[in-house]
């Protein structure tokens, strides 16, 4: 970089003081005239008044009495009035007619002119005497070589004669450049509305760095690379995409600066422009660091340029073309992550697979055919189910993950765009953070639609990368549509294909727009906002263009998949927007979402209530897997085999010695009544064991099943190398009770609050835990109270025996119990007292071992509104008052069985 030593600078300033004094004096022009300069020979009068001063200033060589180069430049700057002289000339060099002045520099003056015959515009650069040593030689050097085409080289040379202010003739060299119409780099970077994407800076480095490298190879330089000398063409009609032209090359016209200093100045300017790029980009990155925005590859290059590690343009271009630092970084990254983040044992971690590697998740996924058919069909679908029921996996299974070799659906028919809402992407749209009244729901919808556009293009781009989707011949329709959707046709800037692919460029632009529009939701007054809002109609148009642009997608249909779309992952207001998409019935895209019970609002922004079976279909996984006799539910054996398949696939994948789970579990009891009998009579050998018990304890939930089997394997020391060995009944029991106990205890860790008796705010988790333990304990008391007989009746459910409305808190707690799958409302039955068919609430069987109760449902408690509320709001009182007689009965064995001891309290 060009540097001036501080001492040197100070002495130069000191030395120039006398000259400044002389220049300020009113007679300076007269004294200057006294030098009597001969422009051709540079000789001056040694007797003149200023001679000594000029010698001191190193403007005159005292030996030859001639002006030095610096002296000549000083003299010419002081004595030539270009404006006046050029106005006198009608035509320059017989060819050019001056139109207007562009720039007055210290080494040259620049005008726009017109070719008198061709009518084309040119730039005339008149070089001040003393500014160049040998301009013709310099022009020969840079013109006779194959340089980058966006370096605008001189196309003509001429020489004119004008007069200095004393009337002496002086020859002036003029070089002629092609005139470029466009914005300067300065104007380009200052345009706040232009979404510069991360790759624009790479394009700049590649293009301008390449030009300067070409010059460097010739040992030439630009010499004056300020931001007005870089012209930017971002017109979408430009086939080359974003193009930077370097104009006004000043090689050989650098006044008193030496060649080394000029080269250093080029690098200094270049670094400054890179920095300005970063500043312009960061200005609107409210929530992103420049490193994240640029990405590691570009960031490494930029860092090395800014930090002056790259000392020449050869090194700059090496960074662009090879970037070994980035390649090393990629290797280190893989090593670091593998080294630091230990993978967990994998057998049970269905959820882990879902969140880390869709390839594995899909590989191990066993879809239930009936449900999978419905999920795959083109229609709006809502999937509900307990946690762990696999609803996310069903959605992920139809999402487009191009790295999966054998997907369950063909993306040519079903193109799923997956949003894992639990990650918090939509939580920001909460009314606590966004003022919907001032912002308006349409602006939020605009942001959500942009998210969908961005995500879709990202998925397709990934498909292009792994060559599942072929590169289209033409992106113009897509680019045009996106420009329209963004409300400004000039916004989308294309980049050269050798910098970045067109689709990556579009994705990058959308990322930036999305970030800006999202920020606008929070800081509406401080930012420019979109002048057009995207809607479901635009989304439809977008997908149509996608179908037309990408051959493989021409017949596909788009499924927008919102996984875990309930509150708080997606706030209610944002759910209304998704519902708007649901009701915009169309043949191109549909919506599928998964949610827990009572977490999703089926209402549009226009207050229309969605109708199940009309606007959407709902599939409740717990209800779907409900087994029952004949027409009441699914065939028991079908479900058992389905769950066996789930385990079998994992045993196969993790290379266990046998794929049949029965080979690992000691069989246990011939029928489950034996277990109930042993539990009721308090026998120590009441073991939960055997496949037929295990899969039923899992209660239709794959995650429960995997956890149980995993724990049994752990207790029984079964691993892939172990030959099929039966885990003893006792060890199975120990593992199962441990899982059940953990599940029960973990209820207390459910987040949230609830207000119970006396307005006391308590932990929702703790309250659910208390209610569950009371329910389980009451069932246990009932089981223990069974009279001595062969078959014991097991209580496993509760029923509302009237239809009176519940206290809102109790109702809310009931909903939470259903939402977290503690109770299951799948079974409908006619209530004993009012004869109305309604759900009975069955305790999830995963909790049965923790309470030492059986897993079959023979009886259920019938509770009035009052008792029901007591159970939820004051569980301890419920267990005390409700089971008093039973507990007495257990103590005084031999009493008659009470059919329902709560009957006497239901009044």
């Amino acid at each position: 970089m060009a540097t001036i030593e501080l001492n040197d600078l100070n002495s130069r300033i000191k030395r120039s003081e006398a000259l400044l004094e002389a220049v300020k004096a009113s007679d300076f022009q007269e004294r200057l005239k006294g030098l009597n300069l001969d422009w051709k020979s540079r000789e001056v009068d040694p007797e003149s008044d200023l001679y000594k001063l000029f010698v001191e200033q190193e403007f005159i060589d005292d030996n030859t009495h001639r002006l030095t180069k610096a002296g000549l430049l000083f003299f010419s700057r002081s004595t030539i009035d270009f404006e006046f002289e050029l106005n006198r000339l009608s035509v320059i060099g017989d060819k050019y007619h001056i139109l207007r002045r562009l720039n007055f520099g210290k080494n040259s003056v620049v005008y726009v002119a017109e070719h008198v015959v061709l009518g084309s515009k040119v730039v005339l650069k008149f070089i001040r005497p003393g500014a160049a040593d040998n301009i013709i030689q310099a022009l020969r050097l840079i013109s006779g070589n194959d340089l980058a085409e966006n370096l605008i080289l001189p196309q003509d040379y001429t020489k004119i004669t004008i007069n200095d202010v004393y009337g002496n003739e002086v020859g002036i060299e003029c070089i002629v450049f092609q005139y470029l119409d466009g914005v300067s780099l300065k104007e380009f970077l200052n345009d706040d509305q232009r979404p510069l994407n991360a790759h624009a800076i790479a394009s700049f480095i590649k293009q301008v760095g390449g030009i300067l490298y070409d010059l460097e190879k010739l040992e030439a330089y630009h010499g004056d690379l300020h931001e007005e000398n870089i012209i930017v063409d971002y017109n979408s009609n430009n086939a080359k995409g974003l193009t930077f032209y370097v104009i006004d090359v000043s090689y050989g016209i650098t006044g008193s600066l030496d060649s080394k200093a000029c080269k250093d100045t080029d690098m200094a300017y270049f670094r400054q422009h890179v920095w300005n790029f970063l500043s312009a980009q960061q200005k609107y990155l409210a929530k992103m660091s420049i490193r994240k925005y640029l990405g590691a590859e570009i960031f490494f290059i930029v860092t090395k340029i800014i930090s002056a590690e790259a000392k020449s343009f050869r090194e700059v271009m090496n960074l662009i073309n090879e970037n070994t630092a980035y390649e090393n970084y990629q290797r280190q990254k893989v090593d670091f992550i593998n080294d630091k983040f230990a993978p967990p044992g994998s057998f049970k971690l269905q959820r882990y697979e879902e969140i880390t590697d869709p390839k594995v998740a899909v590989k191990l996924f066993v879809p239930f055919p009936e449900l999978m058919d419905n999920i795959t069909a083109f229609s709006n679908v809502v999937i509900t189910g307990n946690r762990g029921s696999g609803k996310s996996t069903y959605l992920a299974a139809i999402a487009f993950f191009p790295q999966i070799d054998s997907p369950l659906v063909d993306f040519r028919d079903v193109f799923g765009i997956y949003f894992p809402c639990r990650q918090g992407e939509f939580r920001l749209l909460s009314p606590e953070l966004v003022d919907y009244n001032s912002v308006g729901i349409h602006r939020v919808k605009h942001v959500m639609v942009i998210k969908i556009l961005r995500r879709t293009l990202e998925s397709i781009n990934e498909g292009l990368r792994v060559q599942k989707i072929s590169e289209p011949a033409d992106y113009s329709d897509l680019r045009r549509l996106l420009s329209v959707l963004m409300g400004d046709n000039k916004k989308i800037i294309s980049l050269s294909e050798d910098v970045v692919s067109e689709l990556t460029n579009l994705v990058s632009v959308l990322v930036r727009i999305e970030m800006k529009e999202l920020d606008n939701l929070f800081h509406l007054k401080s930012q420019e906002v979109a002048n057009r809002f995207c809607s479901e109609v635009d989304l439809l148009e977008f997908f149509k263009v996608i179908k037309e642009t990408f051959v493989e997608l021409s017949n596909t249909r788009f499924h927008l998949l919102f996984d875990d779309a309930g509150s708080p992952n997606i706030p209610a207001q944002a759910q209304y927007i998704i519902n708007d998409l649901i009701v915009s019935s169309n043949p191109v895209y549909c919506i599928k979402l998964s949610t827990e019970l009572y977490s999703y609002n089926y209402q549009t922004t226009e207050d229309k209530q969605l109708e199940s079976g009309h606007d959407y279909y709902i599939y409740d996984m717990s209800r779907l897997f409900f087994t029952g006799a004949k027409t009441f539910g699914m065939n028991h054996e079908v479900l058992e085999n389905y769950f066996k398949d789930i385990i079998s696939k994992r045993l196969e994948n993790f290379q266990y010695q046998s794929r049949d789970i029965v080979d690992y579990l000691e069989k246990g009891y011939k029928d489950s009544n034996q277990l109930v009998y042993r539990l009721a009579t308090g026998r120590r050998d009441a073991y939960y064991c055997g496949w037929s018990i295990v899969w039923r304890i899992a209660d239709r939930n794959p995650r429960n099943l995997l956890e149980l089997i995993s724990e049994i394997f752990s207790v029984g020391n079964i691993d892939p190398e172990t030959p099929p060995t039966l885990v003893s009944m006792r060890n199975q029991d120990r593992a199962i009770r441990s899982v059940s106990e953990k599940r029960l205890r973990s209820l207390a860790q459910i987040s949230g609050t609830t207000t119970v008796s006396n307005g006391r705010v308590t932990s929702l988790g703790q309250q659910l835990f208390d209610v569950t333990t009371v329910i389980g304990s009451v069932f246990r008391i009932y089981l223990k109270s069974e009279p001595e007989k062969g078959r014991k009746d097991q209580y496993l459910a509760i029923e509302r025996n009237d239809s009176s409305p519940l206290n809102p808190t109790a109702e809310k707690l009931l909903q939470e119990m259903l939402k977290y799958g503690i109770l299951d409302p799948s079974r409908l039955d006619f209530a004993r007292d009012d004869g109305v068919k309604k759900p009975i609430y069955v305790l999830n069987r995963i909790y049965c071992p923790a309470f030492g109760i059986g897993i079959q449902r023979d009886q259920h408690l019938r509770l009035s509104q009052q008792k029901f509320e007591e159970l939820f709001l004051n569980p301890k009182a419920f267990v005390t008052s409700g089971t008093q007689r039973l507990r007495t009965h257990i103590t005084n064995s031999g009493d008659q069985k009470q059919q329902n001891l709560f009957d006497s309290l239901n009044d």
Binding site: Q332, Y352, Q423, L433, G752
Partner: protein, 351 residues
């Protein structure tokens, strides 16, 4: 002591004379939160911004009055300002604090922030408000440690004896059960990886909060940062924290590190180390559940990388009887100005 570029140093502070222009502190119920105010002398022109807690903790009114009396003794009445942290409007706190601070000219001067009585989200919001208002000034963070923390060592030993591998459940802690994961707009970060995420948890002793935040974020990678106490006699607390969180290591790919509970640099360095390799492929979220100085580190890290999301798992309330007891050392940390142009290459600070 020489301060390295851009790295705040923490050092013990036992001087009662405070050359500050403004003091921001919260009326926390812990004894240590009151200590700095009680034991310090302030300049006549100094301004005090006192943050009042408005929630259902019954002692709060009395505690606030105690602070108010002390503040009025030490600051001119016209130099005392109050702002509230309303339990049901946590998201508005930063806005309200910023609005107030913007009207106080002294806030551009030497601002000291006593974080001893502040919950995690308040520390971040307060630092953000101050540093955004005056990005060319440095700020001083004051932190007073307690003498005794809950649970005690004897409780730990009993738990360990019962559960030699991993302690599944802990007796009650000061922070009660998990209520929600608070996400503030300022710290909401930028999500772009469609579910591929890493959650860094500064794990403490309130395992239910860790559990809640892991459940909520459902990260692909988990980075557990255990607090390493400065005093070796307290190393059992590190072991306790590890035992409590052991169970999470089997749920997903997990990395484990130990970082000082006090020295901000250490936490920033470890976050930097991981983030340099994660930022391209993972959305990064940090949940500071452990020490208050680690929250300061988390904030400073976020300030560099605003795409990082900070989340604050909130308890449903506090069991004040289980709060840290007594007053330990007071530490002072000077934060470099937010705007890098105003950062100095080397600063020398007196001990």
């Amino acid at each position: 002591m020489t301060k390295q570029k851009n790295q705040p140093l923490v050092y013990s502070y036992d001087n009662d004379s405070c050359p500050l222009d403004s003091l921001i502190l919260a009326a926390g119920f812990e004894e240590r939160a009151f200590h700095f105010l009680k034991s310090s002398k302030f300049q006549p022109h100094a301004v005090c911004v006192l943050i009042e807690f408005k929630n259902d903790i019954p002692q709060n009114d009395e505690v606030y009055k105690k602070y108010r009396r002390e503040v009025e003794k030490k600051f001119k009445p016209s130099n005392v300002f109050k702002v509230s942290l309303n339990a049901d409007k946590l998201a508005k706190f930063e806005y309200e604090l910023t609005s107030m601070l913007s009207k106080i000219p002294e806030v551009v001067g030497d601002v000291w922030i006593d974080i001893s009585g502040m919950p995690t989200h308040m520390i971040c919001s307060t630092l953000n408000a101050c540093r955004r208002l005056s990005n060319s000034s440095s700020q001083t963070v004051i932190y007073t440690s307690a003498k005794d923390y809950h649970p005690s060592e004897s409780e730990y030993k009993k738990l360990k004896a019962k559960n030699p591998v991993g302690i599944e459940f802990l007796p009650k802690s000061m922070a009660r059960e998990m209520s929600e994961v608070l996400m503030l707009e300022s710290f909401s970060g930028h999500r772009s990886k469609e579910g591929i995420s890493c959650l860094a948890v500064f794990a403490g002793y309130e395992v239910h909060r860790t559990s809640g935040v892991i459940e909520n974020i459902n990260p692909s990678l988990l980075l557990l940062l255990y607090g390493k106490p400065g005093n070796k006699k307290l190393n059992w607390r590190l072991e306790l924290s590890k035992s409590l969180h052991k169970k999470f290591e089997s749920t997903r790919r997990t990395a484990v590190e130990e970082v000082s509970t006090l020295h901000v640099n250490e936490s920033i360095e470890i976050l930097e180390l991981y983030y340099q390799y994660l930022f391209e492929d993972y959305d990064f979220t940090i949940a500071p559940v452990c020490s208050k100085m680690q929250v300061v580190a988390t904030f400073l890290f976020w300030e560099r990388y605003k795409e990082v999301q900070l989340v604050f798992p909130l308890p449903i309330g506090y069991a004040t009887e289980l709060s840290p007891k007594g007053v330990g050392k007071t530490f002072k940390t000077e934060l470099e100005p937010r705007n890098s142009l105003y950062r100095q290459a080397n600063l020398t600070v007196e001990k």
